[in-house]
Subunit: 233 residues, 2 copies
Amino acid sequence: MDRNAEFKRWKAQGLSKADLSRKGSVDEDVVELVQLLNGREQYFTTSSCAGRIILLDGNINGFEVQKQNCCWLLVTHKPCVKDDVIVALKKANGDAILKFEPLILHVQCRQLQDAQILAIRSTHGLEVPLSHKGKLMVTEEYIDFLLKIANQKMEENKKRIERFYNCLQHALEKETITNSHPKEKIKDKNNSSYTHQKKRNPEACGKCIEENDKELENDDDPGISVTIFPEDY
Amino acid sequence: MDRNAEFKRWKAQGLSKADLSRKGSVDEDVVELVQLLNGREQYFTTSSCAGRIILLDGNINGFEVQKQNCCWLLVTHKPCVKDDVIVALKKANGDAILKFEPLILHVQCRQLQDAQILAIRSTHGLEVPLSHKGKLMVTEEYIDFLLKIANQKMEENKKRIERFYNCLQHALEKETITNSHPKEKIKDKNNSSYTHQKKRNPEACGKCIEENDKELENDDDPGISVTIFPEDY
């Protein structure tokens, strides 16, 4: 079986599986993006979250880093009010932590060049310990202050999803045009050789790339970032 | 010029440049890891941070998400005491945020297979708003509580760097042996085809991969994760 047929088969298998997430369905704010990706032969998604505010009750045995056996006190994909958190906190008997997590998207890609179009990263989170062994360590006023920030991040995250959707659509259209003009394709590849990851496809959607760059400078991402030396595919 | 020679030239250029970071040198806790990578022909590092606790004075114009024009009130790669933070907070006139950031490593890789050995990610951070328009929103007791957590994360981060160093050394040694036995190499590749990103090289260092998997399940990473369909290199 050739490579393309093999990926097609793998994709069909992946998309036919039941949604095993707690929620059992794709988050509303990310449905269009997931459909855009799954509608292209070179991609399929395996997991996604549009972004959420969560309140966890962490390990009660001191300051454990690993959050095993943690309990979700509250999960919302929409803005959240103070009273929801106050009520949920009453159930905490360990170390409760409020988190905001932005968009998460897991995408299987047929080839490296398909993955490179998607390669953006940002840190746009919040992780705030609120209680210790069931005792609240902050004031209600602080929780209110914190939720204003979390809700604002939620709004900003939604805008970024829209921006990413538009940029991706633009890049995929551009790619389709390029692929139907093989000469241009070769020219494009030569131009992009040795370009750093952040600056890949700068022409695809200038605004989007530029803003991501800015954020990366101020607020870098934990983990290991690898850039692969370009080759002719 | 062939691909290998080109990468070699690029690496020599990259490593000969002045260190343009604020600190001007590689963090102590990550020196060995950086040396291990730069000592292999298929890698070179372009940026690194061993992990740090930072106190930022953010934008004073309300709840701005973009942290432009933010000011660093405190940066430390070592455990931190409450009084350091209290003193630094006196200089804040915007929205001060305390952050813990784990290891960051930017690595240029010659080929996709070289990058795959490095492909780990984790979220192991902290991002806590402390003041608003210069007014402290939490108690000193809370700052003390928070620093215990931040310092513990710093210790855990150091252990993870050591574990990553050992796993990487093991994987690179294994790869060197495999490359000198081409038959085995082909066999290995066939076995690893279509393996999911998280489970790649499970035999390389079982403990390391397993623990990373656990964390990813509980505490997923913001951003877009792409898995590339394996091909014969």
